[in-house]
Symmetry: C2
Subunit: 284 residues, 2 copies
C-alpha cells in the first residue's frame, strides 16, 4: 500500500520518541527533530509506509549515533510479556480450543507497537488481552484452522519485541518443529530482532532466522535470500502486525495477516474501524 500524507506527522512523532530514548538533553532532542523535519521535507512521499519508515529510522540512527534507540524499551517489553506467559499458557492448556485462544493472544500482543504509541504500559497489554478474548476477528477463521492443520512448513513473520513472547504461545500450539520464525535483520523501532526471539526462548524450540533487512516490515526484495526462499517454499505464512501487512498485502501469496488496526490510514485501507482484530488472507 502507498503511504498517506497522514503518515508524515506520525514519523515526526516517532522521531521525537526515538530522540527522547537516546538523550535526556532537550537541545539534543530538538536538534534531532529539526534534522528529521528538514530531511522529511526532501523525501519522496510516494513510498509505502514501511519503506519511508525504514529510511526515517535509518536516518534517526545516523543523527543520534545510537544503533538501537529502543534497546531498553524492548528489554522491558520482553520482560513484561514473559511475566504474563505462565498464566496465559495455563489458560491455553485449559481452553476448549487452544489454537483459537493462542491466536487471540498473539493478536493481543500486537498492541506493543511503538510505531503507533509513544508509551505502552502493562495496563494497555492487559486491556488488549481482554479485548482480544471478547471481540470477534474479521477474517477467515476456518481457512486459517485448516491451513494450520495441513501445513508441513509454516513461516511466521514476527513483528515487535514483547509481542514475540505472545507469538511463542501461538507457535507452541502450531507445533514449533514445523515453524520458522523470521525477525528483523537490524534494530528498527521496537521491532523484534534475533536478540528478542532469544530473550523469549524461541531459539530453543524452533528455527529463528533474521530477514537481513532494517525495515519495520517484510520488504521481500530487501530481505536475505534465505528468507525469500522460505517465503516461496512455506505451506503457510503467518504475518504479524501492520508493517508486515503494509509490505505484503499486495502479493499473490497465501499470507494470513494477524494484526490489530491501530492507525486511521490502515483503517481506511482495509475499510474497517480502528481496533478491529484481523485474521485474513489476501490473495490479491
Amino acid at each position: 500500500m502507498k503511504m498517506s500524507l497522514d503518515c508524515v506527522s506520525c514519523f515526526v512523532r516517532q522521531s521525537l520518541d526515538a530522540a527522547r530514548l537516546v538523550t535526556n538533553d532537550h537541545a539534543d532532542q530538538e536538534r534531532i527533530v529539526r534534522e528529521v523535519l528538514r530531511w522529511l521535507s526532501e523525501q519522496g512521499l510516494e513510498h509505502s509506509p514501511p519503506v519511508l519508515a525504514q529510511l526515517v529510522h535509518r536516518r534517526l540512527r545516523q543523527i543520534s549515533q545510537v544503533g538501537d534507540p529502543y534497546l531498553e524499551v524492548k528489554a522491558r517489553h520482553n520482560a513484561m510479556a514473559l511475566e504474563l506467559l505462565p498464566e496465559l499458557r495455563a489458560q491455553i492448556a485449559a481452553a476448549p480450543d487452544p489454537l483459537a485462544l493462542a491466536t487471540r493472544l498473539a493478536i493481543a500482543g500486537n498492541v506493543i507497537d511503538m510505531g503507533m504509541k509513544s508509551m505502552i504500559a502493562e495496563d494497555d497489554v492487559r486491556e488488549s488481552i481482554r479485548h482480544a478474548l471478547e471481540e470477534p476477528f474479521v477474517g477467515e477463521w476456518e481457512d486459517y484452522r485448516s491451513a494450520a492443520a495441513s501445513a508441513k512448513s509454516i513461516l511466521y513473520l514476527a513483528d515487535n519485541a514483547g509481542e514475540i513472547a505472545f507469538d511463542r504461545l501461538l507457535i507452541e500450539q502450531l507445533g514449533a518443529d514445523r515453524v520458522t520464525v523470521a525477525v528483523r535483520g537490524t534494530p528498527v523501532l521496537n521491532d523484534a530482532t534475533r536478540a528478542d526471539a532469544e530473550a523469549v526462548g524461541l531459539h530453543k524450540i524452533t528455527t529463528v532466522i533474521d530477514n537481513g533487512s532494517d525495515a519495520p516490515a517484510t520488504l521481500l526484495h530487501d530481505c536475505r535470500p534465505e528468507l525469500q526462499e522460505r517465503f516461496a517454499a512455506a505451506d503457510m505464512i503467518i504475518a504479524k502486525g501492520q508493517g508486515n501487512f503494509e509490505s505484503l498485502s499486495h502479493r499473490g501469496h497465501d499470507v494470513f495477516f494477524l494484526f490489530k488496526v491501530k492507525c486511521p490510514v490502515i483503517a481506511a485501507h482495509v475499510d474497517l474501524p480502528m481496533g478491529t482484530q484481523i485474521l485474513r488472507q489476501y490473495r490479491i
Copy 2:
C-alpha cells in the same frame, strides 16, 4: 506556557488538515506539507504553542494563498451548533441552576477544535454534551458564581466557530448587556472571528470586538489597544479554550479559564487527565 516538542507533530497534522481544506490535488497537498516541514525545521521552538501556531497558520495561508482555509468548516460548525440551540436553550430554562447548565454547555462546545482533531462530527458534539452534563468540573465553581453575580463588566474571550453558539447560551445567562465578546482579528484555524459571532447572532445581543490578532489565542501584546483596555478594566474575564489558557495562564489577572483538556501537553502542564473539564482561575 512553553511549547513542547510534542507540539511539532501536531502542527504537521494541522498543516495537512489545512492543505486538504484548500485543495483536492494530492501534489498540492504534498507541496504544502513539504514546505511546512522545511519551514518548521528552521523555526525557534522555544515559543509558547500559540505563538508558533500563529506563525504556522500565517505561513500556511501564504503557501496555500487561501486567506481562510477553514471558512467552510466554520460555517458548517456554526450551522451544526445553531441547530442544537433551541433544544439546549429550553433545557437551560427548565434547569434548577441555569448558570451551571449553561457553563457546562459552553465547555461541551469546546470540543469543536480543529487544532486537536481533523474532523468534528455532530456525534462528537453530542457525546461532549453528555460528558459535560455528567462529569464534574475541576476548579472553583463558587468563586466563579460569585464573580458572575457581582461583576459589572465581563470580558468573554471566545475560542472556536461552532463553539461560539454554545457561548451565546452562557452569555445569555450571564446577562448579555454587561458582556463584551472578543473574537480573533483574522481567520486562523477554526477560531471564531467577527463573522462567526455574527453568524450566531451575538452582535444583536452584546458588544463584539475583534482582538486584532491572528493568533489562535489571546497574545495581549499582539492585540489591539481596545482589547487590552477592556482586559485591564473588566471585573471578570472568562477565557474559553486551550489557546487562551496557553497564552494567558501566566498572567496575574483573575481570569476564569473554561476548557476541556484535549492534548497531552496541556494535560501534563495542568497535571490532570485528558478530557478533564476545567473551570479555574489562575492568579500566578
